[in-house]
């Protein structure tokens, strides 16, 4: 079991016995603004590690990486690990207030930050515990002046000037595969993001398994589509680096457009693709995927949401040379089950399985009584094995993971052993592959003084908020602005319905079922008529 920071070979030597030797000029990261060879990535990571250590980073410290996807961001993560630290990837599209919640939750004192984000960070209100900022650019170009930051600001020129020799081991660094490697923050039901702690061993179990599955090698060009704070990127970055493949960054402006994604896959010779099904569907809608194809593409992984079967069939028809894999697992267990989609996919298939336990994990299906269910029955998926997280960071309390870990997902096992998915136990939904706790969005809406009640419903892959106002002057625009300042863009409800009252259950609680039905049927009047029935006392 190797630590992630050892995956990149110092000088053109294969880091792993199974990897072929790559030439020093072999590109590790092909970014939108320049590329990094393996030798350059290795040297840059060492420089980052030395800069961080010189700023007082101790083994186990949390180092934030708030950067757009780029070679610099990957070098920053690798450098943080080489300094014995833990990296925390932060969403470049998140408002500073939410990033600040994460910074404070994990006791972060060091932040690698893009110049364009630094201005918004400094301008934001609230406590700023960051003691050292490492800017991936020139401090002089930053507005407002870096002097406004309470911490010390280090320009990238300082990193570039540091030695590229490997950092000598620190006495406090155990260099164990069971050390914490990174923390991924996901949506939490209480309104505070939850930090999922993953060790080098957790990551490696998946990274190696996935690379072996598709025999990833130096000739491969792996698309980086998923944001770095999203666990899909663990494959893109670490599996690629472990086998000497090239990471091809597909930038934000491209991943919103089907035609541009198809163009990128073709022109940049991408061989491996891993994304949520939505991105693949966008490419299909562009039409060109079917007409001109993408012959370089040989492996397609998808995860994060159910791939509607009709679209999956179209995607497989459009890419006859590619193998398709359905990967499954919450952030807490990385990928824990997998299914290789058969080709041809039989006509009678209406839903594909999530497959069998992968990465050395074991799967158990547990009923309400806590015992394993009878064969074929639906129960909650519990996972044990090397991919199960260390636990939740939880403001430094480090709550250990339950083992086996209850995933909150309902599944059943077919006679052939494959697991079928039957939905979630709680109010967690997926919006374009991102995990969203409806409670967090509701709490954000309710934090506005003009909001009396709010219920958020997921419908057709979008969030719709049904809101009762206490201040009737409050507009949808103002509510959205309130949300956008506090939660990431994908969590801001697409639709906002203002209603005088919400339907109630007999015990006076908000009737979520009837609210959801009204949204599903696009019937605002149903909300009010239900309320009138209740007030009329017809029951």
């Amino acid at each position: 079991m190797t630590r992630l920071d050892r995956l990149v070979a110092p000088i053109a030597q294969p880091a792993r016995p199974q990897a072929d030797a790559a030439s020093p000029s072999h590109v590790a990261v092909e970014g939108p603004s320049g590329s990094l060879t393996y030798v350059e990535l290795d040297a840059t990571a060492n420089r980052v590690a030395r800069t961080l250590r010189a700023c007082g980073v101790q083994p186990g410290d949390r180092v934030g990486v708030w950067l757009p996807r780029s070679g610099q961001a990957i070098a920053a993560m690798l450098g943080a690990l080489r300094a014995g630290a833990v990296y925390v990837p932060l969403d470049p599209s998140s408002p500073p207030s939410r990033v600040n919640l994460i910074v404070r939750d994990c006791g972060m004192r060091h932040l690698v930050i893009a110049p364009q984000l630094f201005g918004s960070w400094v301008a934001a209100e609230g406590p700023d515990p960051i003691e050292h900022f490492v800017l991936t650019g020139d401090a002089a170009k930053v507005e407002p002046a870096p002097l406004a930051a309470r911490g010390v600001v280090h320009a990238w020129s300082e990193v570039s000037g540091a030695s590229d020799a490997p950092l000598p081991p620190s006495p406090g660094d155990s260099h164990s595969p069971d050390d914490l490697a990174y923390i991924l923050y996901t949506s939490g039901s209480t309104g505070v993001p939850k930090g999922v702690m993953l060790s080098h061993r957790n990551a490696s179990a998946f990274v190696d398994w996935a690379a072996d599955l598709i025999e990833l090698g130096p000739a491969d060009r792996v698309a980086s589509v998923a944001p770095f704070h999203f666990d899909l990127s663990v494959f893109d970055i670490w599996s690629s680096l472990s086998r000497g493949a090239t990471i091809v960054i597909v930038d934000e402006a491209t991943v919103v457009s089907g035609p541009r994604m198809v163009d990128a896959v073709r022109k940049r010779g991408i061989t491996v693709w891993y994304s949520v099904p939505t991105a693949i569907v966008l490419m299909l809608e562009a039409g060109q995927l079917g007409i001109e194809g993408a012959p370089s593409l040989r492996s397609v992984f998808f995860a994060g949401e159910v791939f509607p079967i009709k679209h999956l069939r179209r995607a497989m028809d459009a890419l006859p040379g590619a193998r398709f894999f359905n990967l499954f697992g919450p952030t807490e267990t990385n990928v824990c089950t997998a299914y290789a989609v058969p080709r041809p996919l039989p006509h009678e298939v209406t839903a594909i399985p999530i497959g069998r336990a992968s990465c050395g994990d074991t799967a158990i299906i547990v009923g309400p009584d806590g015992a394993e269910v009878a064969p074929g029955e639906v129960g909650e998926l519990h996972i044990d094995g090397p991919t199960v997280m260390l636990g939740y960071w939880d403001g430094g309390r480090r709550t250990p993971a339950k083992r086996p870990y209850p995933t909150g997902d309902y599944v059943s096992q077919r006679p052939d052993g494959e697991l079928m998915y039957h939905g979630r136990r709680d109010h967690m939904v997926k919006v374009h592959g991102f995990r969203v706790e409806l409670g967090e969005v509701e709490a954000t809406l309710q934090s506005h003084p003009g909001v009396r009640e709010a219920v958020v419903v997921a419908h057709a892959g979008e969030l719709v908020a049904v809101v009762v106002l206490s201040d009737s002057a409050l507009s949808v625009l103002e509510l959205k602005r309130h949300c956008a300042r506090r939660i990431p863009q994908h969590m801001v409800p697409r639709g906002v319905w203002l209603t005088p009252t919400l339907p109630r259950t007999s015990n006076g609680k908000v009737d979520r079922v009837r609210t959801e039905a009204a949204v599903r049927n696009d019937d605002r009047a149903a909300l009010e008529s239900v309320a009138l029935d209740a007030m009329g006392g017809t029951s």
Binding site: E252, A253, T254, V255, V256, S257, R260, L282, H432, S475, V476, L477, E478, K480, R481, C483, A484, R485, Q489, H490, V492, R494, G495, V496, W497, L498
Partner: protein, 88 residues
């Protein structure tokens, strides 16, 4: 022409992003800061502009500033209609 375009874009924004509630929206409202414009909305807006005004948007046209306000979107349409040959 441009006032008609601005009105059409305002209607589109109110209908698709603000659930029909136009209160508070001006042609200078920052739509991104207001959380009204995410990546998929941007994609839908692009299709709307291309179909309504028979223009072809290039990747270089698509950036945060171009979609920031109703005024900015109106200016983009004006620029593209001026540079697109008729009958295309």
């Amino acid at each position: 022409m441009s006032t008609q375009v601005a009105a059409a874009i305002r209607t589109y924004v109110v209908d698709t992003w603000l659930s029909g509630d136009g209160r508070g929206l001006t042609d200078d409202t920052d739509l991104q800061e207001a959380g009204a414009l995410d990546s998929l909305s941007a994609l839908a807006l692009m299709s709307f502009l291309e179909e309504t005004y028979k223009i072809q948007l290039e990747p270089t046209d698509i950036h945060a500033e171009a979609f920031r306000t109703v005024n900015a979107i109106t200016a983009l349409v004006a620029r593209k209609t001026a540079s697109t040959p008729h009958g295309g």
